[in-house]
């Protein structure tokens, strides 16, 4: 892989020998749960230290202990930073000495400017009066350090997620960070933005800033990490050192406690007639109605086939799926949609659901599930007519359906009465899939179906997808993870800036080939 080759080249840098951080025998209990059990971790200066583990293994809890979100006294064990014992009462205490945490959900205020966000809580002020000149000047300096070329007065809402992530790091630099903690920093970034971010971490390392990187993406970890501590069930299992034994298979083995020979379950390919076809589909942006988000796209999915759409974030993949799904996105939609060879017009979402379409959103908490409600209510939400008679719900029947789906999809919970908010990310994703399966769709459009899900649960979701196509359903999968696209799909489309730039039969296709199509078009060349 390309990424790994570069790793070898940058091997020349010798990590500093001084230990900047040591956490000894950290134990943290929540009522009824031991979230951390004697965890040990050592981070040296000039080191990128990755923290791996399945969802719920305790990575985030450990980082909350380190940054003072779980204050001293609420956990057992000791934290030494630059050789001194630390007792953080809150996050300010840890920031003061240079430990800064960047959360998965970015903590930026959309309607404030980049500079204002960067110095939020750390304002450049004299006796409470803000010095705007100093603010903008310093902001520009830090932005240059992270390679962000924007006007510091630009509002956060007007820049992309990739750039927002850079603002977060610049914000940390403004606080004189020595140890940067990043919780899944690339989960919402596309491949090129993600690589950009990792390269920045490597550059910062040269300047003496250590990082702790929590990530599910193993290729990123092997790309930039010097050491990897694997956490499983609240215990630190092992620390892997780069030169010796970092490989994706090795990390996965540590995380799941077993060798995982194949990350993508095999399936029999039994491809039938065309299930859904889109011809000349064009969609305009809902706010800037002169902007084409999807431009003259045609594609088809056969029965029993998994078709992937690769592309960068913002390429129009989500927008394409949602606009097909009963015009859930966009204005001025034109083009033709055929289901089972018949032309259909779907004016709203209820019509799309009735026509046998399902759309599984990429944002399960934001758009997909009612977190405050039970598993069973979520599952039955889109087709209540299946469990009701003249609008009156048969609750017992509903429970029965939900239980069947729980078993079928392996949702790990004692009861379907459980609130969705209490489940782990992987199980929430399964509830989301269960919800769409309950609607008995023929065509499933799955948008990033394994985002933020650990390796074990990913495999289970792939198995569910295989089951669905084995039943003759069509699956259209949007994914930003190229290995997933290559591992799962029969056919691959590549989209770029609203255009369909390639259609590839998945035989001998490599990640580099797909990346090539993506990059080619954005350089102005004509694609396919």
């Amino acid at each position: 892989m390309e990424l790994q080759n570069q790793v070898e080249l940058e091997q020349t840098v010798e990590p500093g020998q001084d230990i900047i951080l040591e956490m000894v025998n950290i134990t943290k209990e929540f009522p009824g749960v031991k979230a951390l059990d004697n965890v040990n971790i050592q981070v040296r200066e000039k080191e990128i230290h990755a923290l791996c583990g399945e969802n719920g293994a305790g990575k985030s809890t450990l980082m909350k202990v380190l940054s003072g979100i779980h204050p001293f006294g609420s956990y057992d064990g000791e934290i030494y930073y630059q050789g001194k014992l630390c007792r953080f009462k809150n996050i300010k205490d840890s920031e003061r000495i240079g430990i800064v945490i960047i959360h998965q959900e970015l903590a930026l205020v959309p309607y404030l400017s980049i500079a204002e966000n960067m110095f939020l809580g750390n304002e450049q002020a004299n006796v409470g009066v803000i010095d705007w000149d100093a603010t903008y000047k310093k902001a520009s300096e830090y932005m240059a350090m992270v390679g962000l070329h924007e006007n510091p007065r630009t509002l956060i809402k007007d820049i992309g997620v990739g750039k927002q992530q850079l603002v977060e790091i610049a914000k940390a630099l403004a606080k004189n960070v020595k140890l940067l903690i990043l919780d899944e920093p690339t989960s919402s970034l596309n491949e090129s933005d993600a690589k950009n971010l990792l390269d920045l971490l490597l550059r910062l390392k040269e300047q003496g800033i250590s990082s702790i990187l929590i990530s599910h993406k193993l290729n990123e970890i092997s790309y930039c990490a010097d050491k990897i501590t694997v956490i499983r069930d609240g215990k630190s299992i092992e620390t892997l050192v780069k030169e010796e034994d970092i490989s994706e298979e090795r990390i996965i083995k540590g995380m799941v406690g077993r060798e995982m020979t194949n990350r993508y379950p095999a399936r029999e390919h039994n491809i039938g007639e065309i299930g859904m076809e889109i011809r000349n589909w064009t969609v305009y942006h809902p706010l800037y109605s002169e902007r084409k988000v999807v431009d003259n796209v045609s594609l088809n999915v056969r029965k029993g086939e998994v078709v992937g759409i690769a592309g960068l974030i913002g390429a129009g993949r989500t927008e394409l799926c949602m606009s097909v799904f009963g015009r859930a996105y966009g204005v001025g939609i034109s083009g033709e949609l055929f289901i089972d060879g018949k032309k259909v017009v779907l004016r709203d979402i209820p019509q799309a659901i009735k026509a046998g379409l399902a759309y599984i959103t990429e944002d399960r908490k934001g758009d997909g599930l009612v977190i405050s409600d039970t598993i069973k209510h979520n599952i039955t939400m889109s087709r209540p007519e299946f469990i009701s008679n003249h609008g009156v719900i048969d609750k017992d029947l509903e429970t029965q359906y939900a239980k069947d789906l729980r078993v079928q999809l392996g949702i790990k919970t004692p009861s379907v009465e459980q609130l969705v908010g209490n489940l782990s990310g992987g199980n929430q994703q399964k509830v989301l899939v269960a919800k769409s399966i309950f609607a008995k769709p023929d065509i499933l459009m799955m948008d990033e179906p394994t985002r933020g899900v650990d390796v074990g649960a990913k495999y289970e979701i792939y198995e569910i997808i295989n089951d669905l196509v084995a039943q003759g359903k069509s699956v259209l999968m949007v994914s930003s993870e190229l290995p997933e696209i290559l591992g799962m799909c029969d056919r691959i489309y590549v989209m770029n800036e609203g255009h369909m730039v390639a259609e590839l039969e998945n035989k001998g296709v490599t990640q580099e080939m797909i990346m090539g199509y993506i990059m080619q078009d954005s350089k102005g060349d004509i694609g396919v």
Binding site: Y359, V370, S372, D373, P384, E385
Partner: protein, 408 residues
């Protein structure tokens, strides 16, 4: 066969139910039993009927996402004024006028629902406007603020009347109202029969059933409450007319929120508007419905309240919206929407009503009552929030830890 847990349901609702019982017991002691005298129970019902009615409608609005309706007090006044004009000034038929007033309520609701659902004006703003507009309109049709009354007997009985108050029987050496006795027993029989039938159906279909113990406890407890209530009513003049209106509304809306697809959609919208939309829920339609329904409910409350005052007053219904909102929140509704039940709102309204009534019986001032009600609202919600955050658990852990550190 699978068994359900002995008790399930919203923890805050259970807590508030216990709180209600404690409050009643407290006032029972403080007022030397006066609070549970037959006449006072009838009074309690008549005094608080309008709050419970409004709380029902308010709950639906709150479910859609913590949205409230500030205009209900003004709607109450406006509809009461309309009723007075139709019946007293113009001498129209009482029942025709009632129908017309309900229609006016629906129209007011459609007006607000239109702006909220289809024009995306925040409910707070829309109903704040409604509050001013409808109050002003009330003053206008009452010709600058006259009070119009009294209403004919047929109309008054809406709120102050009793069903067949004069048919008495002698039982246990007491003179009891026949109808109240019969209805009380009938309700208990029907309730128990339905519980048993439901359980049998579940068993037959292989679903989870209540344990026999839970079933018996549930039936005995609820039957006891119903029988007690109707016994007290029978000792006085029987069943208040307004209790019938209230009972029907509670049953219908409880069924609607718990058992119907539309009801379920309300919860989904409040829980996650976007997810509801992507699941095919017609969110705008449901918002429109919630607010139209609120004003319809407010119109019913307006009619009941005007009958109770026996006049239409320009200041009628002031701050009713606040009582209704408070009832919902005390009864377990979330300020962000998506959770809450009709029974919870009923319990919330009863807590406020009993507090009012008990303190009045003790001769405490109106001012103090306001203070107490306000604090009860805060405490009820705070208790819930705190228990969710596990603040106390964390504090305890911290204290234990410091103790250990000090020892070491």
């Amino acid at each position: 066969m699978k068994k359900k847990k002995l008790f399930s349901g919203n923890a805050r609702e259970m807590t508030m139910l216990v709180a209600l019982v404690v409050i009643i017991a407290l006032f029972f002691l403080l007022t030397k039993g006066n609070i549970l005298k037959p006449m006072n129970i009838a009074n309690l019902i008549n005094q608080n009927a309008y709050v419970v009615i409004l709380a029902i409608g308010m709950l639906l609005c709150i479910l859609t996402g913590g949205n409230i309706d500030l205009s209900v007090g003004s709607t109450v006044a406006f509809v009461g004024a309309c009723a007075a004009i139709f019946i007293i000034e113009w001498g129209w038929n009482v029942y025709l006028s009632i129908g017309l007033c309900l229609l006016i309520g629906i129209l007011l609701g459609m007006w607000q629902g239109f702006w909220i659902a289809y024009m995306n004006i925040p409910p707070f703003i829309t109903t704040l406007s409604g509050m001013l507009v409808f109050r002003g309109a009330t003053l206008m049709i009452l010709k600058g603020g006259e009070t119009i009354g009294p209403f004919p007997k047929a109309y008054q009985s809406l709120s102050t009347g009793f069903l067949m108050p004069n048919t008495k029987i002698e039982l246990f050496g007491q003179s009891l109202n026949l109808l109240a006795v019969i209805v009380g027993i009938a309700i208990v029989v029907i309730f128990c029969a339905m519980q048993l039938i439901n359980n049998q159906t579940r068993k037959r279909k292989g679903y989870e059933t209540d344990t026999p113990l839970a079933l018996v406890i549930k039936m005995v407890a609820i039957s006891a409450i119903i029988l007690f209530l109707f016994y007290k009513l029978a000792c006085f003049k029987g069943i208040p007319t307004v209790l019938v209106i209230l009972g029907v509304l509670l049953l219908v809306y409880n069924f609607f929120t718990q058992k119907t697809v539309r009801g379920r959609h309300l919860y989904a919208i409040g829980g996650n508007m976007k997810a509801a939309q992507l699941s095919g829920v017609k969110t705008k339609q449901m918002m429109f419905f919630a607010y139209t329904n609120m004003s319809f409910i407010a119109a019913i409350a307006g009619l009941v309240f005007a009958a109770r005052l026996n006049s239409a007053s320009p200041v009628a219904g002031q701050s009713f919206e606040m009582d209704a909102i408070a009832s919902c929140f005390i009864g377990g509704a979330s300020a962000y929407g998506g959770t809450g039940t009709i029974t919870g709102a009923l319990v919330g309204a009863l807590i406020m009503g009993v507090l009012n009534n008990g303190m009045s019986l003790m001769g405490l001032s109106q001012n103090l009552q306001q203070v107490v009600k306000g604090l009860v609202l805060l405490m009820a919600v705070a208790m819930d929030v705190i228990s969710k955050q596990n603040v106390f658990a964390n504090l305890r852990a911290k204290r234990a830890k410091t103790a250990v550190v000090q020892k070491a």
